[in-house]
């Protein structure tokens, strides 16, 4: 499975959204991606890609697209 497929799968399983929703998905844009959902989601992100995100980057992870930029800082290319 490619990194992009893993990344997409995390969103799809965590927030029960459809693939076509991903490009416009934002933090607090759906009920499931609230502050509680964000913490579990970020924990799964770290475990999946074996990285440790800084607190600032976790807080800055505000959308599907923004997340790609942040993961790139940790050497995860999508």
């Amino acid at each position: 499975m490619s990194n992009l497929e893993k990344y997409d799968k995390l969103f799809l399983s965590s927030f029960r959204v459809k693939p076509e929703d991903l490009p416009t998905l934002t933090y607090r844009g759906i009920p499931a991606w609230d502050s509680v959902g964000h913490m579990e989601f970020m924990s799964e992100m770290e475990e999946t890609f074996k990285i440790s995100l800084s607190t600032l980057d976790v807080l800055d992870f505000s959308s599907y697209e923004k997340g790609k930029e942040i993961l790139a800082k940790y050497g995860v290319t999508l």
């Binding site: 579990e40 924990s43 770290e46 607190t55 807080l59």
Partner: protein
Amino acid sequence: MDILRWTDPLAEGNCYVCAEGDRAVVIDPCHPEGPASLLEERGLVPEWILLTHEHCDHMLGLEPLRHKYPEAIVLCSAPCDAGMQNKYLNMSAMMEVYLTFKGKPGAHYPPLVCSPADQTFAEEHTMTWRGHTLRLTPLPGHTPGSTCILLDRDTLFTGDYLIPGEAVITRLPGGNTEIYERVARPWLSALPPGLRICPGHGEPYALTQEVKDTYGL
């Protein structure tokens, strides 16, 4: 018996100290220094350290307390034991984020893990301590290791269940709504009004049917 409480000003978790003579049972050592200083001020020596669940805001002070009182026995449920050794399940990996969401940005709260407990239980566990009975009931839902601790049939330490004004959270890592509904909620529903509730956050209070209604119990 005296029941003392120490509250962490940052994460607002409660540590309870049940004191009998100069000996004590500590429930949820939530801070590296606070509970230990309370014990010292009162001249108490802990014989047991019990945990209501694995979240770091309930056990941040566990390792320092063990270091200071190596004879104290740490007891918790088996899933709590596993969870406190995992930075995701014990929430310490996301604690700075959590505190930011709670309006406390900039706090330094590095990820941590704890050493294994000295004793664990998988089923309901009853212990007698200096003439008192403590019944520890595993109630997964909020976390896999969540446990309520009933002292002498009149005081219940609930951890993150029955927190004043807050709904039960089952969506954090390891939480499970279905298990909460099937296991924890029926048990909590059966609690008798009049019980003294000592929650993991907030002030202790007397359980009433009105309070139970607010939790849908």
